[in-house]
Amino acid sequence: MSGILASMIDGVLIGAVYGLAAMGLSLIWGVMDVINLTHGAVIALGMFGMYILFAAFPINAYFLLLPIIAAGLVLGLIIYWTSVHWVINRPQLASLLSTFAVNMIIIGLGTAIWSTSPYNVNFTLRGITIGAYTFTGNHMAAASAAVVIALALEVFLYRTRPGKAIRAVADNREAAELMGISSTMVLALAFAIGIALAAASGALVSTLFPFTILSGSGYQMKSFVVTVLAGLGKPFGALVAGVLLGLLEGAVTPFIAVSWIPMIEFGLFVVVLVAFPRGIFGRDTA
């Protein structure tokens, strides 16, 4: 029994990281109605960013999140101006395909540079041992970092002027423009933040598990599940839904083979999508 509890706690800790990844996807989706298919590739870049930085500066890996977030913002602006800005008013297919094209370019370059062999960040924090179970320090630190970043985003969106501008554009782009908000700048900013969140979550994952350049796609899939569970454009809801997903994974892992988990997750995903298109936290406001 306590084994299940330990597994569930571990699941919650990892779930916070899933939630952080999904926040990036959810923010972009909610603000500009673009499904960012570069998400997985950026998560992978975050992993390798951490790997490179940690090799260069072997300090506490969690301090390295700051430069990774900064680099993520720059990368986000680059991706926005190359592939998203031009198609934002075209049908959704266009932005799906253009972001997917960037995804292929990143994965292709990554494969050429790092091949698809596994890497890991060799950094361990001391954990806490309770009875027969040990909760590793990395899991707890990663989860805490994810929650801190999520709270920072929440404060930014609700307490600062640029944050309020992002929410205004998400609600109604024309009306926001009439109020003197430059929607292009706001969209670029929101996209950059979304990418930075993805990179940060990738960096956190890299301290927990070994990874390859292709690892991002699994987290991208999970981000879709989480975003849909939470409902669109609800970044903080995404964190909660991420924790729920982690909890679910933790709760079922002791009972069934790991290879069944995608089946359960995506079965749930399709069912939620069809039954609650606004997410389980979504209110019917239309």
Partner: protein, 324 residues
Amino acid sequence: MIFRRPVFWLILIFAALMAFIPLHGNNVSMREDLILVAVAVILASNLNLMIGYTGYVNFGHIVFYGLGGYVGLYLATVRGWNLILSALLAGVAVSFFALLFGLGILRLRGAYFALATIGILVAVQSFVSNFDPWGRSTGLYVPFDAYQRLGGADGARRALWITYFLVIGVMALSMILSLAIKISKFGLGLFAIREDEDAAVVLGVNATVYKAIIYSVSAFLPAVAGALMFYKNGMIDPSIAFEFMLSLEGIVMLMLGGKGTVVGAALGGGLYEKLRSYLLTSPKLSNFHLVIAGALLLLVVLFAPGGLIGWLYRLVPRSEKVIE
């Protein structure tokens, strides 16, 4: 009438050339190249029915190909049935599966539908990886005597040629199906859904039924092709059957050639496959084939949303009457 369309005859000539050129001189390596082109054309043409005609992006189109491969291989090897019968039954079974799922997920629109198709792909792959009768993650193998049953005394060699002709036949059927739907009233209904689904419903298009039917139809020939191809390859396992990358490359092919057109889908499929095999075998560029394909897709989406055929239409407006 479909016979009055010049494209119909072009399709037949194209298929005949594909079938007989490698037969001349028993050119096996050319046959292996062309069969991949044919599969690309099949996937792109049937994907076109969803993306190009109906305006619904299906990211998980490859699930039909892989499932068809599994059902076909299971019937042809474990049960020992005739290959053609197995492939047809695989098509029917997968179409039925698609119809059931389609009725559920086609209530979703736009991006939500696109995401659900990814969900289905991953869920099916995970299910098959755990499904005992289909060999879990090791998959199924075709025993050598299965080829002899098909190819007679000369065995495997003739069996491979027979499969090749069958795949070419499926390719021709895919293109003819695209053409037949395009010139039918049903096709007009799909175009109406693509342009404005609500307006189409108001005008009396039963969108739910139309979408479910086209989703199911777009599953049939890829499933048949999957059964034939995996039989030819001699084995199937979950990672090669449900390769997400191939699903996505299908979209690249379609956009490259020109979505919504019969010839464009085929052209894009053929060209992309040739490009890919060139890049993969070139020593300098093999590492960068994804980068080049991605850059190509980005350029097409940003600057030529109509693809090659759309570009041709703008260049020679009259060509729209002939090249459909």
